[in-house]
């Protein structure tokens, strides 16, 4: 069990590509940290630096109390699981999990108890005599996890371990890994480009872009209070809707006036912040999540709300919900409403949304304004 301390970690690859700029973070013991972000943002590089597979160009890395910048990977007490794991084709599941320990000359009885314990945790005890060929993708993935578990590392490092699995299996394995984390009570650092994985698994998530940390927070807080336009767009699906607007004073109320004249109210806190920080008459971005737009026909709001009106261009039935797409100020807006609405393309639609669900971002810095 160990905490991790990444102090101003930087990585510059030859050719002057700065993959990680200034990664600064304290990971507590037993946390499940998810690094998430688009391709090339430096997730794998960060993980590889923690593993010791990549030199750290600048900054300090501690695992527990130990300064490990120059410690070889095998001496860091970590285990890695990645997307394209491999198994030994001619060995049984048991042997596959035991092999690493055998290489380390761990006594047989100890190997046996470790393998059985891991198998139990992963619910693959009944498969111990099988060869990898006779396993499903999900079962194989569990064996790969088992190989890491038997090492009893202080820190688990995982790089997109599920991205090769089909959607259904991915959901299933998410639960397996989350459960494992609870049982093992060990620190996990998990890399993914999939925000859903990040949201559902992490105790805290690190949202990265271009080698920079954009926000470190619990999934809920990152969703509720995204630090900037990028995080707001990246977290949540379908994506948050963004529109340009001007901050105006309507009597005493601070509002946002959209390009087509639509007036949007905001929470008192945000109103105060905008006023105080001199945003009146300035342009800002407003953001509203698709799930916060309510069909006025079936769930009208009664107070503290604003209204979008439009004509539906496309309606996608997703089961209990329906996604409505319509145009506002020349931008496509998505609403995620109850399928009871039974709307179809061409229909006129009126959508209500609470003022306190409206996000506001500086038009230049793209930072959230609270």
């Amino acid at each position: 069990m160990a905490n991790l301390s990444l102090r101003h970690i930087k990585k510059v690859y030859p050719g002057n590509v700065t993959a990680v700029k200034d990664f600064n973070m304290e990971v507590e013991d037993k946390e499940f940290i998810v690094l998430v972000g688009p391709s090339g943002c430096g997730k794998t590089t960060t993980l590889r630096m923690i593993a010791g597979l990549e030199d750290i160009s600048d900054g300090e890395l501690y695992i527990g109390e130990r300064f490990v910048n120059d410690v070889a990977p095998k001496d860091r007490d970590i285990a890695m699981v990645f997307q394209n794991y491999a198994l030994y084709p001619h060995m049984t599941v048991y042997e596959n999990m035991a092999f690493g320990l055998k290489l380390k000359k761990v006594p047989k009885a100890e190997i046996d108890s470790k393998v059985k314990h891991a198998a139990k945790m992963l619910e693959i005890e009944h498969l111990l005599d099988r060869k990898p060929k006779a396993l499903s993708g999900g079962q194989r993935q569990r064996v790969a996890l088992g190989r890491a578990i038997v090492r009893e590392p202080k820190v688990f490092l995982m790089d997109e371990p599920l991205s090769n699995l089909d959607a259904k299996l991915r959901v299933q394995m998410r639960t397996v890994i989350s459960k494992l984390h609870k049982q093992l009570e060990t620190t996990f650092v998990y890399v993914t480009h999939d925000q859903t994985e990040a949201m559902t698994m992490g105790t805290r998530i690190v949202i990265m872009k271009d080698g920079d940390i954009q926000q470190v927070d619990t999934p809920q807080r990152a969703y509720d209070n995204p630090a900037n336009l990028f995080v707001a767009g990246f977290i949540g699906s379908p994506q948050m809707n963004f529109l340009k607007g001007t901050v105006v004073l309507e009597g005493q109320r601070v509002c946002l006036k959209l390009q087509d004249g639509t007036m949007v109210g905001i929470s008192d806190e945000k109103a105060a912040a905008l006023k105080e920080r001199g945003y009146i008459s300035k342009e800002v971005y407003m953001g509203i999540r698709p799930e916060h737009l309510h069909d006025a026909d079936i769930e009208p709001l009664s107070s503290g709300y604003s209204v979008f009106k439009g004509q539906i261009e496309l309606a996608e039935l997703m089961g209990a919900e329906i996604y409505l797409y319509f145009d506002l100020c020349g931008k496509q807006i998505t609403a995620r409403v109850d399928s009871k609405a039974a709307k179809k393309s061409g229909d006129a639609v009126e959508l209500h949304f609470h003022w306190d669900k409206v996000h506001v971002f500086d038009a230049e810095t793209e930072k959230a304004i609270y």
Partner: protein, 330 residues
Amino acid sequence: MDELREVLSKASEISNRDIAVIWDKGCCRISEQGIPGLSYEEARQNSGSSWKGYIIYPFEAVGKTYYVCIRAEGCRSEAEDQLILLAIKSAVFNRCSEDERLAAALKEDFDTAVGMRLEEAYGQRLCGYVLLVSGYEDCLNEVLQIMDNTIETTLRFEYEGRILAVSPEGNIEEACESLSKNILSELLLECTVAIGGRSGGIQDLRRMLDCCLEALFIRRTYGLSDTVMNYDKLYAYRAVSCLSPGTKADILAKVFTREFKEMLNSELSITIEELFKNNLNLTDAAGKLYIHRNTLLYRLDKIFKCTGFDLKKFEDSWLFRLAWLINKEK
């Protein structure tokens, strides 16, 4: 008793003289007293001359230097020495393992006879993909064990600090990926596996070994991070590395203009890499980078404005890529 000892003892009996063979980290002698205090280093220094009453003859076998020390006194003849030497050479050669002989043959020019002998000894085992595994630090044994359990090989031995192997696997790239992944998970070591190509015999083996070495060279030169390097897929790099320095400089100058160099930051580098990775598919690349397609177009336009290269066009993009690779050369 092994053949070398037998030969030594017979030769020493017939000629009635002390004889010893000495090599790096080893020696073989018959008489009880031996040859006092002769180290490999001393033998090397006095090679071809006489030393403390001995004549020291050097010879090469299977890539190693051996010294035969024959007591100079008594009724000796040049011919007798030569005969003794010949018998010892043959015994030394027979003593080496097949793999040592093969390794030696790969290092130096060998004649048809040696070639045929090796072909005969190894037969089909020389046929398959030639692989070279490197970067295993002090974990040779562990890596060999992982190898034995991951990938089928007909031949494998340590060769100049790397593992040389021949594998009959059909999907060689996948097998090598598995190998490198298994080594990484078990030992947290990142080994590189070079695939030279398919060998059909001893001559091919040598050629494919060179291909493996070239693949590793390319990996270093262009700072590639792939752990499996398939020589057969490195045409672009091979072509670029063949260009003359003058041509390279010309191409580089054309793309890496002053303005472009000033503008080139990590963000733009990543954009360019991603575009190449996605086969110039703008939608895919933008999706992966999580930027709007228009943002990507805007960045490409910036590149066009300061280099004259439009990466959306095939003609421009491949020349640009050439320059991009040249720029990575170390």
